[in-house]
């Protein structure tokens, strides 16, 4: 027995020493990673970032940089983390700050100036911060109400088209949306109504929406996978809300990630309920590899990346000559007149609006 105890003790001590050694190794390798800076470049982004392997490989081959991708949680948290660690950033380029949070990033000095090559090819409506070029637009997407096609067909009811429709008695108790304080599609939907009805009118609209039985849950995952009757997850969960706040690109996703792929998407988009989100990338202020970061920014708006993006991140390219994949064209919807709002206006009002929305809708 005493040999076993000895073994246990020895193991414990060995493990302890091993850990010390490991952590020492760890910091050492991080230090030597510093020397490699000129050869590798790090992209910090949110969980939704994605790129085809061969496209990334080609960039690595051409530029000579090895790309590290650091997916850093959901979009809001990723931006906030980047701001907190800006003196000693985790990478060289940050991608994924959208127009709802752009001012927070810029005001906190997250980015430094760089005018990416090919910016002139980017649709001018997306180019902000023209004088300083601290951010480069990379993609755009629309937050819209999605509907369950089968439900509306079965009920012989036309799906809603506009914000106004959602307050009609025919659509009572059908919509589920997200908490604007904790969810970015939730916030986008609120901003859409604020853009449509104006600073003075959106609260009246939400009163009507509440009276019409809108349900609010905390996050997109729950709204879409649990409550919405049209998504694959929602069907399994016996979701009973045929309307949900999601993205204009959600229907093609339902097609792509199904086996076998259906001929037609099970869900549709209410085109008059959309708010446009634009995502930007920028060179981080204290980037260790500035040169590599610049090359990476050029790559993000290159034709190669822009063409590859839709089926990886389910957003629209910003480059004018980019081609949309067939699946996207067939099952997706182009939103002609989405609601928009200037980042400055969002920054000035975000907090106040979220507060009044919370007391208006949740209490």
């Amino acid at each position: 027995m005493s040999t076993t105890t000895k073994k246990v003790t020895v193991t414990a001590v060995a493990v302890g020493l091993g850990l010390v050694a490991l952590s020492a190794c760890g910091s050492e390798s991080a230090g030597s990673g510093g020397k490699d800076d000129s050869k590798s470049v790090t992209l910090v982004s949110h969980d939704s970032f994605n790129v085809s392997k061969d496209v990334l490989k080609e960039f690595e081959k051409q530029s000579g940089y090895k790309v590290n991708v650091l997916k850093d949680g959901d979009a809001g948290a990723a931006v906030n983390k980047a701001i907190l660690s800006k003196d000693n950033p985790q990478g060289d380029v940050f991608f994924g700050v959208d127009n709802t949070l752009l001012s927070r990033a810029l005001d906190n000095g997250l980015f430094q100036s760089y005018e990416a090559k090919g910016l002139d090819q980017v649709n001018s409506q997306f180019r902000v911060d023209q004088g300083k070029h601290r951010v480069t637009p990379v993609d755009s997407g629309d937050i819209c109400v999605n509907y369950d096609k089968k439900y509306f067909a079965d009920k012989k009811l036309a799906p809603p088209k506009s914000f106004e429709d959602l307050t009609k008695p025919a659509y009572r108790d059908l919509l589920v949306t997200e908490n604007v304080a904790t969810s970015s599609p939730g916030l986008g939907f609120l901003l859409g109504t604020a853009a449509q009805y104006g600073d003075g009118g959106w609260q009246g609209y939400w009163k009507k929406l509440k009276a019409n039985g809108v349900k609010v849950v905390d996050g997109w995952e729950q709204a879409y996978n649990e409550e919405f009757s049209g998504s694959a997850g929602g069907k399994k969960a016996k979701g009973d809300r045929p309307l949900v706040v999601s993205y204009a690109s959600s229907p093609p996703v339902e097609v792509l990630y199904a086996k076998p792929q259906p001929k037609e998407a099970p869900t549709g988009v209410a085109t008059g309920t959309c708010f446009r989100q634009v995502e930007y990338a920028g060179l981080l202020s204290n980037a260790k590899n500035e040169k590599g970061g610049k090359a990476l920014l050029d790559f993000l708006i290159s034709t190669k990346f822009q063409d590859d993006m839709p089926l990886n991140m389910f957003v629209n390219p910003v480059r004018e000559n980019a081609e949309l994949p067939e699946l996207f064209v067939k099952h997706g919807v182009t939103i002609d007149k989405p609601e928009t709002m200037a980042p400055k206006k969002i920054a000035d009002n975000r907090e106040q609006w979220v507060k009044s929305w919370t007391s208006l809708v949740l209490k």
């Binding site: 105890t5 414990a12 760890g26 948290a77 660690s85 304080a181 649990e226």
Partner: protein, 567 residues
């Protein structure tokens, strides 16, 4: 001959009372040094830094903010809800799980080991997934709804039941672990002397169980007090705990000063709970006569015992197996009927949510969890050893300190790591060790809590006898304490391993994208639309569940094999 001589030499040293004593306290200080350093660097420093970031403006502390924030009625409402739901959850958990602890401790029945592993599984599942499963039972179209038209989603009952689901194992393992080693002959002796069954239990067994029950209640209270995912999913946006509010303020709104105030409030509350706990435990500490569990457990006898066993089985089936079953069912039900479609998909990297096939997350998780368990055992083991002996105020403070990580929000720790561990000599931000370190922070309290009651219950006279016979403190610990606590050590390892596997809050902040852990991978898959992503999330959750159950089961086996005949 040689051996004898050294022993005589040693015993002579031991007899010099004062010197022996100072050597003892020096040894304790030595034991404490490593855990103290660990907590200072990986807990106190990061948390203090993030709080300071929120409360310091231009180098000046803004303590006025504390009063400002606390004056808000919203914040007071959150505080009130946090407290009462935690109290209710703890009471309900004890009520439902104590009979379970008894049954697992004292009865021998078929499938006991498997069942004990299974009830621990919920404890490590990501709350996102459990919330999903629970909703399927309690929500619309759920079992209750179909049978009686009762829907509990977005009510407090859903939150309370989910808390019982999560924490059942805490009570069964902490209380049951000690209970199974209590000598039943003491109770029998009391009954022979004329005490009724109830009086005998109340006067003999209950006091002996006291510390373990207190420890379990404390843990359940801490977990429910700082509940995050359960409250978010089952309670809806109308209910919010302090932890949820800290997350919102930090990760979503970047209002660090409000978050800092809330962190301090949570800290103070947890500190208070721990102080009360330390006081109750001190009053009840007694040396217990521990026996081998397998010698005590036997087949139930009589209608009463069989009914109790059946009752516990039904509770476990409804409360734990059913939600887990829902997950498995969903992971298997593909578009064309039941099958392994989603599991097969896990091995391909084309899905898009990751740079690697999602199945890699299984291997990552195991590696991280092993490392975290090793760290937690070393740190927690040293700390428990240091805390065993009759202790002064300083040491008792240290005891409470070790529990604090359980009461501090994971997002605070995660953000703290981010802004502090980024410079040499502590440039750990881009190394893999960061994840196990964060996970070990939550594991250490389990190790300490599980081992301490057993260590303290070891009769001190045995140790003294060893010392008199010439054993050094280390040798006395090894020869006296260790054999008796190996069992507790393994339970502790199991807990640390399990919490590391399931840890999400802090891991999600620091896990590297090419090395996602299982819970992180599940969350990421759930964050995307599409049937395959959802199905893969369910399949991965099922795998996490199985991996966890198998690990715990192995541990159970290992434990019985080794402990046979040792006591």
């Amino acid at each position: 001959m040689d051996l004898a001589r050294t022993e005589v030499g040693k015993s002579r040293k031991g007899r010099k009372g004062r010197k022996g004593l100072s050597r003892g306290s020096a040894a304790r200080l030595g034991l404490m040094a490593v855990p103290v350093a660990f907590f200072a660097v990986f807990f106190a420093y990061p948390v203090a830094a993030i709080v300071a970031r929120g409360l310091k403006v231009g180098g000046e502390w803004q303590f006025g903010r504390i009063a400002d924030v606390l004056a808000q009625s919203d914040v007071r409402h959150v505080l009130w809800f946090t407290t009462w739901q935690a109290l209710a959850s703890t009471a309900l958990t004890l009520l439902i799980a104590l009979p379970g602890a008894y049954v697992f401790a004292r009865f021998e029945f078929r499938g006991k080991q498997i069942l004990r592993a299974v009830v621990t599984v919920p404890f490590v599942l990501p709350t996102v997934v459990v919330g999903t499963a629970f909703l399927a039972l309690l929500g619309r179209g759920g079992l209750l709804d179909e049978m009686w038209g009762v829907r509990l989603d977005t009510t407090v009952w859903a939150i309370l039941l989910a808390h019982v689901f999560f924490n059942y194992a805490v009570v069964v393992r902490t209380v049951g672990g000690l209970w199974s080693q209590l000598d039943p002959r003491q109770e029998e002796a009391a009954r022979m002397l004329g005490a009724s069954r109830w009086t005998a239990w109340r006067t003999v067994t209950l006091p002996a169980l006291g510390p373990a029950v207190a420890a379990a209640s404390l843990m359940v209270f801490l977990f429910t007090f700082t509940s995050f995912g359960v409250v978010q999913i089952l309670g809806g946006p109308a209910y919010s705990t302090l932890e949820v509010e800290i997350y919102r303020q930090t990760a979503q709104l970047l209002d660090l000063s409000t978050a800092a105030v809330l962190t301090i409030v949570q800290f103070a509350a947890v500190g208070m709970i721990l102080a009360v706990h330390a006081w109750t435990v001190r009053r009840r500490e007694t040396a217990l006569k521990l026996v081998d569990a397998s010698a005590v457990a036997r087949r139930p006898r009589g209608a009463g015992q069989w009914t109790l066993l059946a009752g516990v089985m039904v509770t476990i089936a409804v409360l734990i197996l059913l939600p887990l079953g829902v997950l498995i069912e969903r992971s298997l039900s593909g578009p064309g009927g039941y099958g392994f479609t989603y599991y097969k998909e896990l091995t391909s990297a084309d899905g898009g949510a990751f740079l690697v096939p999602p199945i890699d997350a299984v291997w990552n998780s195991l590696q991280y969890a092993l490392a975290a368990t090793a760290i937690a055992l070393v740190i927690g083991g040293l700390a428990a050893a240091a805390l065993t002996r009759k202790a002064g105020r300083l040491v008792r403070g240290f005891d409470a300190l070790l529990m604090l990580p359980l009461g501090v929000s994971a997002v605070t720790v995660g953000f703290g790591f981010l802004i502090t561990l980024d410079k040499p000599p502590l440039d750990l931000r881009s190394t893999w060790i960061l994840v196990p370190l964060a996970q070990a922070l939550v594991g250490v309290p389990f190790v300490v809590r599980t081992m301490l009651p057993v260590l303290r219950a070891v009769d001190g006279r045995l140790r003294e006898a060893a010392a008199v016979l010439g054993a050094s403190p280390l040798r006395a610990w090894r020869e006296v304490d260790l054999p008796m606590v190996r069992r507790a050590l393994l339970i502790a390892a199991g807990f640390a391993f399990a919490v590391s596997l399931g840890e999400f809050g802090a891991t999600v902040f620091i896990a590297r994208p090419d090395n996602p852990t299982l819970p992180v991978a599940v969350a990421r898959l759930l964050g995307r639309a599409g049937e395959l992503n959802y199905g893969q999330a369910m399949a991965l959750s099922t795998i996490l569940m199985v991996v966890c159950a198998v690990s715990l089961l192995l541990l159970e086996r290992l434990r019985t094999d080794r402990t046979t005949g040792e006591f």
